[in-house]
């Protein structure tokens, strides 16, 4: 997910332009010059300026030298490297999966899937991942649902308490 400064700067400038445009279209407060439109326009203008500066590489000299991303990433370009890169997207994807299925499936099974997949993706053996996927959801459910009364959905598998 490393973007050249030119690209990230351009994205920011575009975002700033959209914000300023969107802000300028907001309805004004009757009888008042300053309304909800001023702040987005100021922020948008700032973003355009920063985006342009970044795209032209200004301020680069202040950045700390890039860290070594770690040995887990194999040689770039290979299929394996691309798959490893995609693995980073797993946590947010799991969160979205949780949102989609938790009502129907219930908290315990969904949470177990989350824990199991994350553990396996981080290289855990099944001997560690399976007990963890069984125990962690129960413990979290006990604390949040039982003690703190957070309404975690029962779904297909209600908790034993």
């Amino acid at each position: 997910m490393h973007l050249p400064d030119r690209v990230s700067g351009a994205i920011l400038a575009g975002l700033g332009a959209l914000a300023a445009y969107g802000g300028s279209r907001l309805p004004p407060v009757p009888g008042q010059d300053v309304g909800p439109n001023v702040f987005p326009m100021v922020v948008g203008a700032g973003l355009i300026l920063c985006g342009v500066l970044i795209a032209f590489g200004i301020g680069r000299s202040f950045e700390a030298p890039e860290e070594d991303p770690g040995a887990a990433v194999p040689a770039a370009g290979s299929l394996a490297a691309r798959l490893v890169g995609l693995r980073a997207l797993l946590p947010p994807a799991l969160l979205l999966l949780y949102v989609l299925v938790v009502e129907r499936l219930g908290f315990l099974p969904t949470a177990a899937v989350l824990v199991l997949v994350t553990a396996l993706a981080l290289g855990a053996r099944l001997r560690l991942a399976l007990p963890l996927a069984a125990a962690a959801p129960l413990a979290v459910h006990a604390v949040f649902s039982k003690l703190l009364r957070v309404p975690l959905p029962d779904g297909m598998l209600p908790a034993p308490w």
Partner: protein, 498 residues
């Protein structure tokens, strides 16, 4: 005096003491695990504080953050991996001591001077906050606008990255804070017709995303830290008293420096540690020993980051302006518990403030025995593989984000901010600046728009009141500082070349 006794009674309650103890152990462990930061510990704690009485809630935040800032030094000293960013300034120095076989001394320095720094910072908080509250009572929207802006500018200076990118990150945060109907006219802004966005982006789920989910994402593509090597540690506190006497000057300088940095809105423990370490090196009589495992810099920086942690509560309590990401979360908890920050807090809720001071002192004393236990257990407990720890963090993030408002959309917010934080970090945009932008956006906007309406769209009154003018000057200096630094560096290089 009765206020102090009331406060004592408040924190002597069993639930408060238990909350402090549990939060301390939790903070110690999370801070000591490499990759899990003090901010993550605090953010994941908030959903729990939601269900606690006010004093216990604030106590857990104080205790967990103080412990995590200290215990971040443990993997720093033993593995050369800072547990939290505030330890990064002196990690190399501490690791050099470990290589010389002085691991216990290095860890002892961290522990002992952290506790002293924390207590000095608390005393400074007790002395300064009520006095500043008197002044703050006369502040108008102009002063508040400049204070908020100054806080944001300081946050961009803290980041050790391109100042332009830091400012851009902060602006992204401000833009995010525009979402919703919480604006001067109550018009839905940037909601794109999504009902869930009408209330704006909730801060805690966003923080959980930025500090917990994106951390797990980073772990997915990086190599696991090596396990902490088993080693026998000698007495941890032995020799600390001698070091205290020997390095009195750096210790006090570090304490005072930490207090000053902490009081600045927008600057906190991370910045205090970096400045403390470099100041210590600059004024040391044995400068050549720095980097080879010399205790002097550790003393000063270790004292500085913990005293900054306490004094960062001054702007947080007085103005609702966070000194760092931890106090940013704490401010959210204060609002949630009806302890709204502001100068009147010190007159109307004086007993709560005394209780807060006492909790700080208590937590810093508790830090010493707990810290020794954590250091002793570090070589065993901290061998837990991240494949066992991070899945639980993901689960806690999901449930924590949901529990804040029993709102499933918050989990989507956490996922989105996890992705955003990950991409920003990868490309050198400091996420802490964005977080402060999100938190202070509506405050900045309210005071900006109120001031503009008061002044009939003229910018002149922003500079007319004396305190406003001073704050404006400092904010402008913070904005121009990178340019000055760049020119100086260029000139130095030119003279060196000539």
């Amino acid at each position: 005096m009765s206020g102090v006794l009331d406060a004592l009674a408040q924190i002597a309650a069993l639930d408060v003491l238990l909350a402090i103890l549990a939060a301390s152990v939790y903070g110690m462990v999370i801070g000591a695990l490499p990759g899990l930061t003090a901010t993550m510990a605090t953010a994941l704690l908030v959903p729990i504080t939601f269900y606690l009485p006010p004093i216990a809630a604030v106590a857990t935040i104080i205790a967990a953050s103080a412990m995590a800032i200290f215990s971040g030094d443990i993997p720093g000293a033993l593995l050369r991996i800072p547990g939290t960013p505030a330890s990064a300034a002196y990690t190399d120095e501490a690791y050099a001591m470990t290589r010389k076989g002085q691991a216990e001394t290095a860890l002892g320095i961290s522990l002992w001077f952290s506790a002293i720094g924390g207590i000095v910072g608390t005393l400074a908080l007790m002395a300064m906050a009520p006095a500043l509250a008197e002044i703050a009572l006369s502040f108008s929207s102009f002063e508040y606008f400049w204070l908020a802006l100054l806080g944001l500018m300081c946050a961009t200076l803290v980041a050790r990255s391109s100042p332009v990118k830091a400012i851009a990150a902060m602006l992204i945060g401000l833009l995010i804070s525009c979402i919703g109907i919480e604006n001067p006219a109550g018009t839905p802004r940037f909601t794109f017709g999504v009902t869930d966005l009408l209330g704006g982006i909730e801060v805690i789920p966003a923080l959980v995303g930025v500090f917990a989910i994106s951390e797990v994402m980073r772990a997915m593509v990086s190599a696991e830290a090596p396990p902490i090597p088993r080693r026998r540690l000698g007495s941890i506190l032995r020799g600390q008293w001698a070091l205290t006497r020997r390095y009195q000057v750096p210790m006090w300088r570090g304490n005072i420096l930490g207090v000053l940095v902490g009081v600045l809105p927008g600057a906190g423990a991370d910045m205090a540690a970096w400045i403390g370490y470099s100041v210590s090196k600059r004024f040391s009589k044995e400068r050549e020993k720095f980097g080879t495992g010399h205790p002097e810099g550790l003393v000063e920086a270790g004292a500085a980051n913990n005293s900054a942690l306490a004094s960062a509560w001054v702007p947080a309590l007085l103005f609702g302006i966070p000194g760092d990401t931890i106090t940013a979360i704490a401010i959210g908890v204060l609002y949630m518990k009806g302890l709204n920050p502001g100068p009147t807090l010190f007159t109307e809720r004086a007993d709560s403030m005394y209780a807060l001071y006492l909790i700080f002192i208590f937590a810093n004393i508790l830090m010493i025995p707990l810290g020794i236990a954590t250091i002793r257990l570090a070589t065993h407990v901290l061998r837990a593989p991240r494949a066992a720890v991070l899945p639980v963090i993901v689960l806690l993030s999901v449930v924590g984000a949901f529990a804040i408002g029993n709102n499933i959309f918050a989990v989507v917010v956490a996922a989105a901010f996890g992705l955003l934080g990950f991409v920003m970090e990868r490309n050198g945009y400091p996420v802490a600046a964005m977080v402060l932008g999100i938190i202070m956006g509506s405050m900045l906007e309210t005071h900006f728009v109120t001031s503009l309406i008061k002044s009939d769209n003229s910018l002149l009154p922003f500079f007319e009141r004396p305190i406003a003018a001073v704050l404006a000057t400092i904010a402008a200096a913070a904005l121009l500082w990178p340019v000055v630094a760049w020119t100086l560096r260029r000139r130095a290089r030119a003279t060196a070349a000539a």
